[in-house]
Structures are given as C-alpha cells and as structure tokens.
Symmetry: C2
Amino acid sequence: MPLETAPGIDDIRAAWARIAAHVHRTPVLRSRTLDARSGAEVLLKCEHLQRTGAFKARGALNAVLSLPAAELAGGVATHSSGNHAAALALAASVRGVTARIVMPRTVPAVKQAAVQGYGGEIEFCEPTLAAREAGLRALVDRTGAAVVHPYDDWRVIAGQGTAVLELLEEHPGLEAIVTPLGGGGLLSGTAIAAKALRPAIRVIGVEPAGADDGARGFRSGIRVTGSRPDTIADGLRGELGERGFQVIRALVDDVFTVTDAAIIDAMRFTWERTKQLVEPSAATVIAALLDGRLQGLRVGAILSGGNCDLDDLPWRPR
Amino acid sequence: MPLETAPGIDDIRAAWARIAAHVHRTPVLRSRTLDARSGAEVLLKCEHLQRTGAFKARGALNAVLSLPAAELAGGVATHSSGNHAAALALAASVRGVTARIVMPRTVPAVKQAAVQGYGGEIEFCEPTLAAREAGLRALVDRTGAAVVHPYDDWRVIAGQGTAVLELLEEHPGLEAIVTPLGGGGLLSGTAIAAKALRPAIRVIGVEPAGADDGARGFRSGIRVTGSRPDTIADGLRGELGERGFQVIRALVDDVFTVTDAAIIDAMRFTWERTKQLVEPSAATVIAALLDGRLQGLRVGAILSGGNCDLDDLPWRPR
C-alpha cells in the first residue's frame, strides 16, 4: 500500500522487515585516525558495502516490494545516471519483473554493467534532464511500467531510513547522525527514524557547496528549484524533492556545506586511512568531520556509496 | 623469551594474548560476486583493516612484546621498504622505545609518513639490498638496537599465525586457507595454526610468477636464494626465509603462482566489487580464487594489506 503521507517509525520498521532478506546488514567500522583528526567518536555505517554499492538498494526494494502485483505487470522504470538505477534493477529482479532504466549515454561503463548485471534493461538518451524525462515518458507509454522515483517517494524514504534503524539498534548512545544530502531521500528517512528512536539526537545533512539548494531551502524555508549543480559529488546533483524538503525542515538540525576540494581530500583520506573505497558523495560527511564541525560528539556517519570510476579519480598526483 | 624452535599452537595462542590489546580483531567480509566468479564460498579476513594497514602489526608486536626490557635499551631496528617498517614503529611505541628503520630513499611518501606517524625514525639509504644491510649494521653498531627481522623470526611467525586463529574460531568449518607468500611469515604462521586446529584443512600459498622462489623451493625441497624478483606485488619481493621454508615444506599443501596481469585484474575486481582497497600483494589470493583454483571449497582468504600509492595505480584506463 503506497504511503500517502510521511512515514513514521512504524513504516520504517515495516520497510526493514520487508527488505531484510534482500539487503546486507552493513557493518559499522571505526578509525582511530578519523577520531583523532575529527575530535569526535565516529561510527561509520558502511552503506558502500550494501548490495549495489549504495544505500539506494534499501529504498528501491521497499518501493518495489510494496507495489501490488497488478501494478507490476509492465515492470518498473526510472531515469537515473547513478546508484538508483542498479538499485531498481535489483529490486525488480527480486519481484521477477523487468526494470527499464533511461540513462544518459555518458554514464561510465561500470554503472551500465551494474544495471545489466541485475538484469535491468537500459535505454540510452542524451545527457540532459529534458531528454531523460522525455525518454521515461515514452517508455512508460509503451510498456505501462510503474515509475519509481529515486527519492521523492515516501516508500523510498521509508526504505532509506532502515540504515539508521540498524545503526541505532547497535549503537543507541549516538549523539549525532550525519548523512549526505542530495535529493533528500537518505537524510529525510534518517531524520524520521533517528528522531523517533532518540528525540535528543542531532541530525545533520552535508551538501556540496556547488549543489547547495538543500542548504538554502533549509534556511529560507522555501524549496530551491532550477539551480545548476556543479560538484564532483555526482550522487548529490539532484534537486531536493518536495517530500524530503518537508521532513528536513521539520526534523533536521542543520545542513552543512563542504567544498569540492574538501570532498576530494576527504575521499583520499578515507581511501588511505580506512581502506574503504567510498565515492565523492559519501566523502562529504568525512569532509564535515575532518573540518571539526562535529567535535566532541559521538557521531554516526553514513557512508552512502562506493561506486567510483577507477579510471577517472579526482586527485592530482602529489 | 625468544623461541629457539618452531612455534606450536600454544605459542600462537600466547602471541594472541600478548598482542590482543594492541591490534584489531579484523572483520571477515563476504562478496556474492566473488563467490559466483570463484565457484567457492569465500571468507575474506580483512588484515588490510589491521592497524598499520597490514597483518605485519601482529608479528612485530609479538616480537617486541616478547623482548626482555634489558634488550630494548637501544630500541629496535630493521630495514624495510614496506609494511614491516610501520608495524615495528607501532610495536616500539607500545613499549615506549624508539624504532629506527633503514629505508630506501625511493619509498613513497605515504609509507614514510606511516613510520613517522608511529614515532619511528627513518634512516635513508640507496635502494639496494647491500645498502640496506650495511645501513642496518651501522645503525646497530651505533645504537645497540635489537633487530627484528620482518619474517625469518619465530616470534614474528607466531604473531602472524594469530590472524587465522581468529578466523577459525569464528568459522571453524573452513576447508581451505589461502594466503600470499613472500618471505613466508604469514604462510608459515597460518599453516601452524590451521593444521593444529583443523588437521584436514588445506593450506595454500600464492606467489607472483615473477617472484616464485617459494614455489620452486616448495617443489624441489631446496630453498631458492639469490633470485631477482620482478613483480608488482611489492610486499612479496622478499626471499622465502629459512624458518618459513621449513614450516611450509612440512605443513603447506600447495603453492600457486599468479601472473602480474592476473594480480592487477584481481586488485581492480576487489576494489570495484568489495570496495576494499587492497594492495597488489593481497590481490594474489583473489587472483587464485578468480582463476577457479579453489572451486567447490569453503575458503578463508587473508587480505594481507591495503597500503597502496594512490598516485601510482597499476591499471591502464579502460
């Protein structure tokens, strides 16, 4: 049954029960060096070790497993250049239906292969939002596929909230939770779960300075649309959705921004010191930590994904 | 008390008790893709997540913690271009003494920084074995430091055996254990522990084809010396030591070799699919698995280390 209003903790618990057999309960890692450099006690929830290499598997699975069989006759569809594409392909494979993904031709081969590895079908389009939306409309008209939005969907948001549910079950003493902020699915699901389980906890989003529509909307109270993101964090270029915006305004304590230079430094730090291959979007939370912005706190940080193009690393040789 | 003869399982248990407060009990990870591609059920013992980024911390700590205070008056010393250097620096810091490391000037900055990060002192030398040995002799004459060999030392071998002790405690049903083979410390310590705990288990070493002195010695029964290693796996260029050779001949079931091309492919596979940043030496075991050489078995594979130079990755852009 699709959710008509914002999910509560019971919906997130129901999402967890729905998806648990199909996702990993990801490990929580620590790093002495990160603790020393950040002045915080940091627990890293490793969603880059999630199936498909990102937390997106949680939301896509919850959405697709929630759909009645009648709505799945035409399969599922979305447009995506990134982690939601593989997540939806995985979710469709679990239901035994086809996922059709409209994807810009410019997407790296490794991301195409991920979709195909789960049996998803790709329809290529030009790399513009207009072409992606037109491609998806045409595809839905032709196939009757059910569209699953990557973040502006309450079932997706409930699914993303399951990561912090696991984290707080294992580490109830956390004082703050920090997640990347792009479309708002992860941060809003996290905020709903965390504030329900532990009302005093601080929930903070981190956005690239070059894609700060979320931070600006959070401060002004008016959702920002139509801005032009310019950031290395390819997973955070989406615009904060209406549903996520509502939740974030109501429940989130702060939204930080970090520069691309800080993201790249944090990504390299994470690779070298924790040996965890995280993508730029995930490195935003490390950048905020290294900048000392959560000093003195016991912090849960969600490493959102690990899908990188190893042929195109962002740092220059030292 | 230094061991005069090969350690047994009791010595490895004693080593574990000695070092446990100073090392991580490293996690064990799994990968569906690795299982599918290898035809095996693989448990990855993550020693790249060990302190100093490699299993070497175990052996160095056991050796240094075993030394009587009187022998530590002049600190400890070694020559090393790699992971043993940082491991010895860590071990010395635990005892409150100085580690002095003779190191070729060509060692990447990140490995120098690791030694210095644990308070170790570096003495640079020319990048030849003769210069390294001469440098170490001069250093010992001057300081009276106790030399800790990176692998040809029974206390070091006992320490390295503690990784598989942890692994078999958690996963007693393993049918095979596979480790990289360089100087022989890890493989011999592993073999002693594994065969004592589970006599029917197969213990296998993997060597680069370009540094196959261990494989040749294993087959002929005569230890090979003076060969010239040529491999990307910088941690496995050392010559199989006398002590390791004895143990490996007695207890190890087979030694495989893998080409550098296979090592590079396996390293990239591991980065992309498990998001674990392993160094080329660790990728040797993945290469053997991907080649199907352990098909049908429940295998524990030791990911030996994760110290890479991110400015000098071995693959060419695809």
